[in-house]
Amino acid sequence: MAEFNPMDRPDRRRRNRFRYRNAKYAYCMLLPAFLLLTVFVIVPLLMAVVRSFQEYRTGKFVWFYNYEYVLGLKALFKSGAASDFLISFGNALLFTAVITVSMVVLTFLFALVLKNMNNRLGSVAKTLIYVPFFISGIIASIIFSLLTNFGGGLINSILISLGADPVAFETQGILPYIAVIVPTIWLGFGYNTLVMYAGILNIPKEYYEAASIDGANGWRKMIHITIPNMKNYFVLIVINLVTANMQMMEVPYMMTGGGPLKKTLTPVLYLFNCFRDANRPENSTIAGAIVVMLFIAAVNAFVFKAVRSEKSQDL
């Protein structure tokens, strides 16, 4: 018996014509997005790359001068002294590691709590934790400054009224790190919890029922069912957090100004300061921004590789 071939059908030409026409329409519909992407992303990126090799005023090609200016590799190899830009990368990596790990653990645990709350209480909790997501980093920092301010913050007012000495969140010990990390976690906590919550709800109940029949306790269900099924959500959240935290600027700018002694200086904050300093080569800011972009892309590639996401079996 001959195999069925859809192309042998009498309406073949008519179907192909429609297929061709659909493709044309699809390309037409993609065109605006492609044009916008070209005008606002690809062309500026290429221009930025070219400018990073040029002197700002004359347009003369200085090749890697701007990159050397921000990275300071010669001095690093010569005397071991890292430039502020390199120091800021170390800080950003530290913040990213602490914030990412804390956020994943906290939001996962809170999503589990949400799942077990009754509907009414759960809705109130979801709304409350989501509110900070609408607040900008600048506003969040102002709110936290009202708590932590050395001169008149709520925490220090309470300490003074209790007869204790006030603490300087901007300078003392590990407090500057806390002053940056806590508002950042607060800002992203709601969104990431809801993503985790959606992931947990997406796990088929049958898995847990089958595990219960086999005698698995709550801990074993979490280890062998919940966490493996949440893998793609973990990847999504980790990638988002790594990208966002490597570009962190508003919170350290507002809370600590990058201090003390550049301990909370981040790469984007460094570039912001660099841009505002008339005595630095203008295009070194662009070179630094490209280095940050490449670094984030490399870190993300590493994260993708390390925590491989799995395609849905429905696809």
Binding site: R57, Y69, G72, A75, S79, A81, S83, D84, N149, F150, G151, N156, I160, G163, D165, P166, V167, A168, F169, E170, T171, Q172, G257, G259, P260, L261, K262, N273, D277, A278, N279, R280
Partner: protein, 452 residues
């Protein structure tokens, strides 16, 4: 209906654009027929300062026979450089614009954005600029900007009532005096009160130029930017002072006020500080916001390393006005500058009166006018500001990272004042020099020095 909607939308858009651009405008009232419009870009300052400037612009425009209609546009400090750059790039550079002393060479003269005033303004007006300030606006023999004012970066403000309570009879003159006064004051203060307010964070980079010069006879680099001068006894003494002040627990660990050093005087007025370093602009803040405290507050120059008076203890910051090289009406723009700052000392002096003499005049004629006509109740403070500004150095124009290398050294010493003093200071001097030398390689020689 559609037409109405379109008009409404256009009106809303125009209003929004105006508000985004931060445009305000002086120059209300009658418009001079056939007059040439001269545009000036101004930076927004304190309310009293903006109010004074608007009054002056209205007064200028009330003359309907000079052939000039002055149009002022005010911009917030962050938006000002962007507005100026956009105007230049689009071929609409203002005829007159403001520039700080520190940015004059790097962002204006080296880019040929300003027209030399020699030939545009009368020589007698250029010669009227004081000897301290003239080099700050002169490059290659040409005067590129007419100065408006100078401000001392640091004075010592103190509470007379707390001094009295602690048995301190006079303000400190030397760094050793400062430490001994701090030791006397500390025991009489309560929780949340501190002996001495100092600049911290970025302000530590610029508010200590004067003390650096006082201790070392120079700032971090020589004038040509070919030699780092930090590895000397003067910088060691300065680091030692910072160490002792923090080790003694005299200085608050953080900012006592919202805007740090800029409004640190509020800490003194609100009884959180017994003494504080603060810029001369703080005098206007006291007179405007805390006039009742005027008699309880004393103002003197910062103590010096040697204890001698008549030495440099501050740097001069402040503002100048340039005529755009792209202006089509340079001669008229120069006339505007003459009217505002040069031809009538009494008229120019009104600004300093409004500022409660918290800023120093920069021309000999205005200084003389103020000396003869100043308010008696502010004469002591005026004398201090005038003296400190006349001895102050210009802010260095080398890379800001060099200034932060020095401030980083002081900050490190302050935050580690439980470590061995000598070892700590030696380590930090070495680290600071290493960092500055790296920056020197990157920035090259001082272009302004080569220019003259």
């Amino acid at each position: 209906m559609k037409k109405l909607l379109a008009i409404g939308l256009a009106a809303v858009t125009s209003l929004s654009l105006l508000s985004f651009a931060g445009c305000g405008g002086g120059g209300g009232g009658k418009v001079e027929a056939g007059a040439t419009k001269v545009v000036v870009y101004l930076q927004d300052f304190e309310a009293w300062s903006n109010e004074h400037m608007n009054k002056m612009i209205d007064e200028f425009n009330s003359n309907l026979e000079d052939g000039i209609q002055l149009e002022a546009r005010f911009f917030q400090d962050e938006a000002y450089p962007d507005a100026l750059a956009s105007a230049r790039e689009s071929g609409n550079a203002p005829d007159i614009f403001m520039c700080s002393y520190g940015n004059l060479y790097g962002t204006v003269v080296s880019h040929d954005y300003a027209e030399p005033l020699n030939g545009l303004m009368k020589d007698e007006y250029l010669d009227d600029i004081t000897d301290t300030v003239k080099p700050m606006v002169t490059f290659g023999g040409n005067v590129y900007a007419y100065p408006q004012l100078t401000e001392a970066s640091a004075l010592l403000f103190y509470r007379k009532d707390i001094f009295l309570e602690a048995g301190v009879t006079e303000p400190p003159k030397s760094w050793a005096d400062l430490l001994s006064v701090c030791a006397k004051i500390k025991p009489v203060l309560g929780k949340g009160q501190y002996t001495l307010g100092l600049p911290i964070y970025s302000a530590l980079g610029w508010a200590t130029y004067g003390l650096q010069y006082n201790a070392a006879g120079s700032v971090a680099l020589n004038d040509e930017w070919t030699e780092c001068l930090v590895d000397c006894d003067g910088y060691r003494a300065l680091a030692g002072l910072w160490y002792d002040l923090y080790a003694g627990g005299y200085v608050p660990a953080g900012n006592v006020t919202a805007r740090g050093y800029n409004d640190i005087i509020e800490g003194l007025c609100m009884n959180k500080l017994a003494m504080t370093f603060a810029g001369s602009w703080s005098i206007a803040e006291i007179m405007n916001s805390y006039p009742d405290l005027k008699d309880k507050i004393g103002v003197v120059p910062l103590p010096t390393l040697s204890g001698n008076s008549g030495e440099t203890t501050a740097s001069n910051g402040g503002w100048t006005y340039c005529v755009s090289s792209a202006s089509k009406h340079k001669d008229l723009a120069a006339k505007v500058l003459e009217w505002f700052f040069a031809e009538d000392a009494a008229r120019t002096a009104r600004f300093f009166e409004a500022a409660c003499y918290s800023k120093s005049a920069v021309t000999k004629s205005v200084q003389q006018y103020i000396a003869e006509n100043a308010r008696e109740d502010l004469r002591d403070w005026l004398n201090v500001v005038t003296e400190v500004c006349s001895l102050a150095i210009p802010e260095p124009t080398y890379s800001w990272e060099i200034s932060t290398a020095v401030s980083g050294m002081l900050e490190y010493v302050a935050l580690n004042s439980n470590a061995n003093k000598t070892t700590l200071i030696e380590q930090q001097i070495k680290a600071c020099v290493s960092k500055i030398e790296r920056m020197m390689e990157q920035q090259g020689r001082n272009p302004a020095y080569s220019a003259g």
